[in-house]
């Protein structure tokens, strides 16, 4: 029930003003809700590997949040709350399916080093064939259906915990303290894991999209 029915940009500002008064008006802002729903949906699909299950989980999480709408002061709090509910639902579903959600826990620092050793030499400089290249025209990639397929395949290749933390950060747009609290990890653990995830993702995108088809220089 939005006053008027418009979704003009002024509406958002007014809703924010309401939120500041302790009223969870953003829960009545259809544009904001739809955007939030989409973000959650991406996260859930990639975690569950099943669009229908994901949609149910997101729906339930949003409904759960609506019930306790009173207790939110602002959008960040709402997002954190909805996300916490969703995360538990996903964990339950995965458990029910017999997969341990946390089986793929943080890799040891040993493995952290081994992984990066393939990219850098002993002095910590890029190995020649691992050096990041210039990405031509990334803006047009996001309008290409095929690019998204490559992107999803690259995300799929991330180890579970890396993917989870990366998505909390980049899809749900949670901040460091929120992620650390939700995942029960330290800030430095988070930083190490996000660094690894980004290293892998950028390499995968470069090899399979931005440089795909081009003969590799110097080899």
């Amino acid at each position: 029930m939005v006053e008027d029915s418009g979704t003009k940009s002024g509406e958002v500002g007014r809703n924010l003003a309401h939120a500041a008064q302790g009223e969870a008006a953003h829960l009545q802002d259809p544009v904001y809700l739809e955007e939030l729903r989409r973000q959650l949906q991406r996260f859930a699909v990639l975690q569950l590997g099943d669009a229908d299950l994901a949609e149910d989980a997101v729906q339930e999480a949003l409904l759960g949040a609506l019930k306790s709408a009173r207790s939110f002061n602002g959008r960040a709090a709402l997002k954190t709350w909805v996300f916490a509910i969703l995360k538990n639902k996903i964990a339950d579903l995965l458990r029910a399916r017999g997969r341990q959600p946390d089986a793929q826990s943080l890799l040891s620092s040993d493995e952290e080093h081994r992984d990066l050793d393939e990219l850098f030499n002993a002095r910590g400089h890029w190995r020649r064939d691992e050096r990041p290249a210039h990405w031509e025209d990334p803006e047009s990639a996001v309008h290409d259906r095929h690019f998204w397929r490559v992107f999803e395949a690259c995300l799929d290749r991330l180890p579970g915990q890396q993917a989870r933390l990366f998505m909390m950060r980049e899809f749900i747009e949670l901040e460091t303290p929120e992620i650390c609290a939700a995942a029960e990890i330290s800030v430095s653990n988070l930083n190490v894991t996000l660094h690894r995830a980004r290293m892998r993702l950028r390499e995968c995108l470069e090899n399979n999209w931005f440089q795909a088809g081009e003969a590799r220089e110097e080899s």
Binding site: R38, L119, F120, L194, L205
Partner: protein, 65 residues
Amino acid sequence: MKNCREITRLLSEAQERELSLSERMGLRMHLAMCRGCRNFAEQMATLRKICRAYARRDEGNSGRE
């Protein structure tokens, strides 16, 4: 002087927090000399844009952001 490995770590962290003045100075010096890390720095910004676009994408009709 930081090496590329440390610089990439710093560039990743810059996505989460504001870097200190000395971190930014070290970064700028390294980037001036190292094309690989310069490309990496650009890619971190690109990766963020890609993720935002992805999370907000509407598969059916490409809805406005």
